[in-house]
């Protein structure tokens, strides 16, 4: 049985208080999403569980366009997630286990992309997608997000830790290159792939700038961009908070379901195996 000494109790207490403080904005958001707009701007904040209403959610969900935005967001986020898992794991494997000319240079080039601000590449990216005739299409939304340098880095770091003997043995048994990747590397790499998938989904789900630039018609917007365009000059806070809760639900579900992978993901690449 674990001993509870004073320092342990103090740290647990401190961390609990800290966690509650961090959770307070979310609590406030959830609560006020179920309250009329007038409650939101009250000072001191109205934290009572009275006067609750589903009016904000009704307003949000009765708009057929909200469902189109939700669908678009799911399509974009899931496509980005799957693209990242498949394409980045292939790239990661090549960088981790293959020898080819310019490998280090190309890898560092990819790493340098990680350090480039998204805003910097927006104009060239916009021109590229426009010239390909893909503006205001799902392809235009999805194509630039299929590969992420961060995911390539992550998978490469993880796959480096896979013993080379495994691959040599497989080769001796007559495995083809594809079979080695498919039957040996990928199953071992499940933890990192889960991380890539989760990060890929969340990043694309929350993205605002690219969907804003790449779409023109209302029905092609994603949820983040669409909700912003519902705001007239006077902000309807109730609707904003209901929209925030609406957009958070998939992320929370994903986080709770794959919490253990998140913890693992923080340490992947931190220690060289």
């Amino acid at each position: 049985m674990r001993k509870f000494n004073l320092p342990t109790i103090a740290s647990v207490l401190l961390l609990t208080i800290w966690a509650l403080l961090l959770l307070f904005p979310f609590y406030w958001m959830f609560l006020n999403a179920f309250k009329p707009t007038t409650s939101v701007i009250q000072t001191p904040p109205d934290l009572s569980w009275v006067n609750l209403t589903i009016g904000n959610f009704k307003k949000l969900t009765l708009e057929p366009i909200s469902w189109a935005w939700t669908f678009n967001s799911f399509l974009v986020a899931i496509s980005g997630m799957i693209g990242n898992v498949i394409l980045c794991s292939m790239a990661g494997y090549a960088f981790a286990k293959k020898k080819f000319p310019g490998k280090r240079l190309i890898f560092w080039f990819i790493i340098s992309i990680m350090m480039t601000s998204t805003q910097v590449i927006m104009v060239p990216l916009f021109i590229l997608i426009r010239d390909m005739g893909l503006l205001n299409t799902y392809f235009g939304l999805i194509l630039p997000i299929l590969v992420s340098p961060f995911a390539v880095f992550l998978t490469k770091q993880f796959m480096q830790t896979i013993p080379g003997e495994l691959i040599s043995s497989a080769k001796m048994d007559g495995c083809s290159e594809w079979r080695i990747f498919y039957s040996i590397i990928l199953p071992i790499s499940k933890p990192v792939l889960a991380i890539v998938a989760i990060f890929g989904f969340i990043t694309q789900w929350n993205d605002f700038l690219w969907p804003l630039l790449a779409t023109e018609s209302r029905d092609m917007r994603t949820l983040q961009v669409g909700l912003a365009s519902m705001q007239l000059q006077n902000v309807d806070y109730g609707l904003v908070l209901a929209g925030s809760v609406w957009t958070m639900i998939p992320v929370i579900v994903l986080f709770v379901s794959f919490q253990r992978f998140f913890v693992r993901g923080i340490t992947i690449g931190a220690v060289k195996g």
């Binding site: 007038t38 799957i82 104009v123 426009r130 235009g140 630039l213 007239l232």
Partner: protein, 452 residues
């Protein structure tokens, strides 16, 4: 893995299908919207891209419908007259709209027409970049005669006209009368004067009288006014104009921002927060929305606002009586109001026929009849020929009167320096990091560079 490949294939195929659908749908919808065969003198179809912000919902702005319905309705009506024109309406959002316009300009494919308003600095910013189409050849004498001087001032960058004016917002000071009654301070307000004008000194006294602690604490929890440095600092610099200064001279070729009158006026804004302490603490970090919320929550007794605050007050947690007075002015100065003008700017056109149609469409949206729609958001149409839309409404009648004292040069010139620069300098003033004179000296360099 097979499952994964399968899922990917389905997603990719679905994307291709939906992508194709989307393009197909765009073509179909534009044809559906048109409802007619495309016919024109040259026989070619003319697409016009209009970008707007969400301002009113519904076809007539009556709140029933979507925020782009009114623009689509105008597009439909215009198409009846010009069957070869297809107007596509895109809805921007207030948060990312400017970025989208900037990227589209940088990529060389801006919209044909976009809504903008003075305090965005769009006319100045894009006029200077040389990406706007001058509208002078399309404006007739009758149009010029229809705009007030304040509106005319907002339409130009240098010697060319770029803005098709559509609406006019007039700034005043919104007063929470309940708070003033509670503090027995109604006599301090200039309500009995014909123009409800007052001086900085009188304003300060009224703000001091309404700064108090309702909970009898040692620190106030209700403040006479609100000073903020983020989001919309132009209100704070407006005191420089109210004190007799301005951002540029009237010929728009030299900045006058470091003139003593302007410096003293801005110093007054800083003093309200730091010397008189009649504004909520932390002014350097406050936004206009914060102060607006505090006003609605009866924590701020008065603040610079437009007529449309009345509707928000009706929906406040505890609605209260609102009155409007003129912005305060410096000693010996005449009242100055700030007319903010919103309208449409057209980006450069290569095709002459299209240019004419773009201009005609802009003129159509902003004509006497169509611009009356802005009544639904409690502002004034830019054209005088719309007449008195508000009848005997005392609030709107007052704002109409106040608009005659407007200074649009200020809002036009404010865009000469990025809003972020103004924010940084005012934040530095409020935190004591820089003097007002030094800050304005910094901004002077930027503005003078822009003017050259």
């Amino acid at each position: 893995m097979r499952k994964l490949s399968g899922v990917l294939s389905v997603v990719v195929l679905a994307s291709m299908f939906l992508s194709a659908c989307s393009k197909e749908k765009d073509v179909v919808s534009s044809t559906e919207k048109t409802g007619k065969q495309t016919v024109s003198a040259s026989g070619k179809e003319v697409p016009i891209k209009l970008w707007i912000y969400p301002m009113m919902n519904g076809k007539n702005g009556d709140g029933n419908g979507n925020p782009d319905d009114w623009a689509k309705e105008y597009a439909r009506q215009f198409k009846e007259k010009h069957p070869n024109v297809n107007v596509s309406v895109e809805l921007l959002d207030w948060a990312g709209g400017t970025e989208k316009i900037d990227v589209s300009i940088a990529a060389g494919s801006p919209p044909d027409l976009v809504y903008t308003i003075n305090n965005f600095g769009g006319v100045t910013k894009y006029g200077k970049m040389g990406v706007l189409e001058p509208i002078d050849p399309f404006l007739e004498q009758a149009d010029w005669n229809d705009y007030s001087e304040a509106v005319k001032g907002a339409m130009k960058y240098k010697d060319k006209t770029y803005l098709w004016p559509w609406l006019k917002l007039v700034s005043g000071i919104a007063i929470n009368m309940d708070l003033f009654k509670e503090r027995n301070a109604v006599d301090l307000l200039p309500l009995n004067r014909p123009l409800r004008d007052w001086t900085f000194e009188e304003f300060t006294k009224a703000a001091q009288a309404t700064t108090f602690s309702r909970s009898n604490g040692s620190k106030p929890d209700v403040y006479g006014t609100g000073v903020w440095a983020k989001d919309a600092p132009y209100y704070m610099y407006f005191n420089g104009v109210a004190n007799g200064g301005n951002v540029t001279n009237s010929s728009f070729d030299k900045t006058t921002i470091t003139d003593p009158k302007f410096v003293e006026g801005v110093q007054f804004s800083v003093d309200l927060a730091n010397k008189y302490k009649v504004s909520p603490p932390g002014a350097a970090g406050l936004t206009v929305t914060n102060v607006n919320d505090m006003f609605l929550n009866q924590q701020v007794a008065m603040y610079p606002s437009f007529s449309n605050i009345t509707d928000q007050v009706k929906k406040a947690p505890k609605p209260f009586e609102v009155a409007f007075v003129a912005p305060p002015h410096g000693p010996g100065q005449e009242t100055t109001a700030w007319n903010n003008v919103g309208g449409f700017i057209a980006f450069k056109q290569k095709d002459e026929e299209k240019k004419k149609l773009v201009m005609e469409f802009a003129k159509f949206i902003t004509n006497t009849e169509n611009s009356k729609i802005v009544k639904t958001i409690a502002v004034f149409p830019a054209r005088n020929s719309t007449g008195n839309l508000y009848g005997d409404d005392p609030v709107m009648s007052y704002f109409d009167k106040l608009s005659n004292y407007g200074n649009s040069l200020f809002s036009r010139a404010f865009g000469m320096a990025p809003v972020a620069d103004w924010e940084i300098e005012f934040q530095a003033n409020l935190t004591g990091a820089r003097s007002v004179k030094d800050s304005l000296g910094n901004l002077e360099k930027t503005i003078q560079k822009e003017l050259k």
